[in-house]
Every structure is written in structure tokens, then in C-alpha cells.
């Protein structure tokens, strides 16, 4: 069974081979479902010149934002950024390249990258700054632009559970970009809350088959909440 056992036991091993100027695709939406410890390992390694592909760039002291102070990120491809001051400073100073990509297009680019689809047409962004330099074409009287797929040298992913073969299950909206990122990395590294024995996961209920996963590590997670919104316990009773 050794051949399919993807488990590694240290974060150093998990991110081995990551080098300066590589492209890293990260799962997560805001701070939800982000590979916290894999990001910390990138910070610890001090890798520079990274191109990051991720829907967001974390906050000042959590998520991908922690890679900003040491200028580890050269470029970020994201749909929504700027929840932190250092990001803003670097972007305004021209130290950080930002390629804004519509959220759905970004998701589809990752999926396409993993699926061997080099490019696809989408109506999203037609007639907007996103369309600049891209081919435009009509199908059935509607306007579309051509978008190319994305792959990364590494993909870093957070899942909930996995078996040792790397079959993954995600939990609630922490799924988001993670299954897509998982398909699009030359080396896909996944951290999970729990590793179970092979055979424990229902084959019908696996979100990401292990074929996409190269390395797997069990971690502990802070799971910081970005917008903590609650209602009083009493009013919720009638829900």
C-alpha cells in the first residue's frame, strides 16, 4: 500500500521543493478553508518572488497576508484583495503586482487547468477592463471573451478529512476553491483535520479523489473568523 500512502509527517516535508519564483495556487475564501499551516511554512522557508493564485490575500496577520511583510509575493491573481494595510501599501508602491480576476472565472481557470482545458469562453468580463487584450467572440448572438487556464507548481489545499490515499472530504463552505486548487498543482499538498484509514470514507462521498493529491499532512487549525456575525440566542429559537 506504500505507493498510495500520501501522508507526510512534517510541514517541511510537505512543502519540500518549493522554490523562489514559483506559482502557488491556494484554496480558501477569505479566511475560510485556508491551508493555514502550509502558508506558515512558506513564510518560514522565506521563499520569495512567488506568484500566488487565490481568491483573496488574507488579512494583515493571518492567511496569505503573512507573506507580505517579507515581500515574498511578487504577484497575486485574485478576485478580491486589500483587507490589509501592508497589501495596500505594496500595491500602491508598485511592489506587488495584482491581477484582478472575476471570482467565477478564477474558479473555472483552476478547474480548466486541472482538467487539461487550456482555454474557455465566458461572458464574464466582456466589455470591462478584464477583457483587455483578450479575444472576443459571439456565440448565438451573445458576446464572450476567451480566458486561459491556470496551473501551479504547487497547490496548497485545506480539507476536513482524508484517508491515507489522499481521498478528500471538505466541510461546509470551507470547500470553496479547495477542490479546484487540488487539481491544478504539479505538486498538490493537502492539510487536513483528520486522517482516517483507507476504506473508511464512502467512495460515493469523496469530494476529491486521491489521484490529485501528492502529499497529505494532519494539522491543527486556528480557523479565524473574519466577520463574526451573530444574532441573540433568544431570537434564533423560533428558527
Amino acid at each position: 500500500m506504500a505507493g498510495f500512502d500520501k501522508v507526510v509527517t512534517s510541514y517541511e516535508e510537505a512543502m519540500a521543493g518549493l522554490e523562489d519564483n514559483m506559482t502557488v495556487i491556494a484554496g480558501g475564501f477569505g479566511l475560510c478553508g485556508i491551508p493555514e499551516n502550509l502558508i506558515s511554512e512558506i513564510k518560514r522557508k522565506g521563499i520569495k518572488g512567488l506568484t500566488l493564485v487565490s481568491n483573496n490575500c488574507g488579512v494583515d496577520d493571518f492567511g496569505l497576508g503573512i507573506l507580505l511583510p517579507n515581500r515574498q509575493i511578487k504577484k497575486i491573481v485574485a478576485s478580491y484583495v486589500g483587507e490589509n494595510a501592508e497589501f495596500e501599501r505594496q500595491m500602491m508602491a508598485g511592489e506587488l503586482e495584482v491581477e484582478l480576476t472575476p471570482q467565477g472565472t478564477l474558479a473555472e481557470k483552476m478547474r480548466a487547468g486541472g482538467a487539461g482545458i487550456p482555454a474557455f469562453f465566458t461572458a464574464t468580463g466582456f466589455g470591462t477592463p478584464v477583457a483587455e487584450g483578450k479575444e472576443e467572440r459571439q456565440f448565438n448572438g451573445r458576446d464572450y471573451i476567451l480566458e486561459e487556464s491556470i496551473t501551479g507548481d504547487f497547490a496548497i489545499v485545506k480539507a476536513w478529512k482524508a484517508d491515507r490515499y489522499g481521498n478528500l472530504v471538505f466541510r461546509k463552505t470551507a470547500r470553496n476553491f479547495n477542490p479546484l486548487a487540488a487539481t491544478a498543482g504539479k505538486i498538490t499538498v493537502v492539510e487536513v483535520e483528520e486522517i482516517v484509514e483507507v476504506g473508511e470514507l464512502d467512495p460515493d462521498q469523496i469530494h476529491t479523489p486521491g489521484i490529485y493529491v501528492d502529499r497529505l499532512i494532519q494539522g491543527t487549525f486556528e480557523k479565524r473568523i473574519e466577520q463574526r456575525t451573530v444574532q441573540p440566542s433568544s431570537t434564533a429559537a423560533g428558527e
Binding site: Y80, G82, Q103, V130, T173, L180, H207, Q227, E239
Partner: protein, 218 residues
């Protein structure tokens, strides 16, 4: 008198139908969920991967793994489903969402919308807005009719970078409910107590005014 944020949301809610799958943007659109008519069921789609968004959680039920597109903690309604971001935007881009409600900086008489970027100011990104306006057939834009300084937001041509081209057909402002058709704004309803003259004054794009312009009913 100009509608309050709540009244805008309330008027939008009248456009809901039983069984609608709805995506509500951040801000006023979010408030629409508070005015869903009794005996009517709608399901809220949150583009980060949730169909069937419920209320905010309590302190006891809060879950870091369960947020909406505004990154707020939420709950799931009965019959909810979870999916990845590609599937979520397949739903949106494929036209499966029945109604999308979102805000804007400007809308023009050709159905163009500008909502994500003010040059010279910090650019935070379009998030899912470009996908939403490109994918939905049925969109209602909510915004104030004009800026605080009286500058119209209903223009003959948008001045800001576009979020989408030719995709907006209905706009609900604090003053009026307007349809966009044939390169013109068509005044459908006015806010209670707001005169047609006032709406004309604050609409820069060409405005078609029917003989009778009913007041909105609440």
C-alpha cells in the same frame, strides 16, 4: 420622500416569487431577505458555495467553516446544499439563479453597470460581481438615484470602468423603479411623495415618462 434602505429592500422583495433561487449582493440587497413575503419561500445562493443560506448563527452555533460571500458567519436553511466555487459559478453563469440583486456606482441607458472600481482609489476587486451580472437574466440593481451632491447615477454612458456591458434591465433607486430598454430609461414607479420632476432632474440619461407614473405600494 426618498426610500430608506429598508424600503428599497422591501420594494425589491415584491419582485420575488415562490420558489425563486436568489443571489443577494452585499449592502441593501442583503436586507431583501428580511422582507420575503409570508407563505413564500425563496432560497438564497451565496457564491462562495452555499445554496440555502439561513440566518446568522447564535454564539453557540457559530461555525468558522460556514460563511457567506460577505465572509459573515451564517447558518444553513433546511434543504441547503454545499458545493465548490466552480460549481457555484456554473450555477450563476449558466443562468440557473432566478434573481440577482446587487448594488452599483452607476448604471447607464444601455444597461451597462459600473460597481467595482473607482480609478485613483484603492481597487479591491470585483469578487463575483462580474460573473453575476454576466450570468443572470433577471437582475435588479439597487442604489441611490444620485450622489449626496446631486450627481446622477443613471447616466447616458457610465463614466467608471464597467462591471458588465448591456446586462442591466431594472434599477430600483431611492426615488424610482426604472426599466432599461432600447437604450433608454423607462420610469415605472416613483417613491411615495417623490415627484416626476425630481426624478427627471436627477436622471442624466434619457428618461421615458409614461402618462401615469404610479407611486410604489408597500
Amino acid at each position: 420622500m426618498a426610500l430608506s434602505r429598508e424600503q428599497i429592500a422591501q420594494r425589491v422583495a415584491q419582485e420575488l416569487q415562490d420558489g425563486f433561487y436568489v443571489n443577494l449582493g452585499i449592502g441593501i440587497p442583503t436586507l431583501v431577505a428580511n422582507f420575503v413575503p409570508d407563505n413564500m419561500d425563496v432560497m438564497l445562493q451565496s457564491e462562495n458555495g452555499l445554496l440555502g443560506m439561513g440566518q446568522f448563527p447564535t454564539e453557540e452555533t457559530i461555525d468558522a467553516d460556514l460563511i457567506n460571500a460577505g465572509k459573515q458567519t451564517v447558518t444553513m436553511a433546511k434543504g441547503a446544499s454545499i458545493f465548490d466555487s466552480a460549481e457555484s459559478f456554473a450555477m450563476i453563469r449558466g443562468g440557473h439563479v432566478d434573481l440577482t440583486v446587487l448594488g452599483a456606482f452607476e448604471v447607464d441607458a444601455n444597461g451597462n453597470i459600473a460597481s467595482y472600481m473607482i480609478p485613483g482609489k484603492l481597487i479591491k476587486g470585483m469578487g463575483g460581481a462580474m460573473d453575476l451580472v454576466a450570468g443572470a437574466d433577471n437582475i435588479i440593481v439597487t442604489m441611490t438615484h444620485a450622489s449626496k451632491h446631486g450627481v446622477s447615477k443613471l447616466l447616458s454612458n457610465c463614466t467608471l470602468p464597467l462591471t458588465g456591458k448591456g446586462c442591466i434591465k431594472r434599477v430600483l433607486t431611492d426615488l424610482a423603479f426604472i426599466e432599461i430598454k432600447d437604450g433608454k430609461f423607462h420610469l415605472l414607479e416613483r417613491a411615495p411623495g417623490v415627484s416626476v420632476a425630481e426624478i427627471i432632474k436627477l436622471t442624466e440619461g434619457e428618461l421615458v415618462i409614461p402618462v401615469d407614473v404610479p407611486e410604489m405600494q408597500f
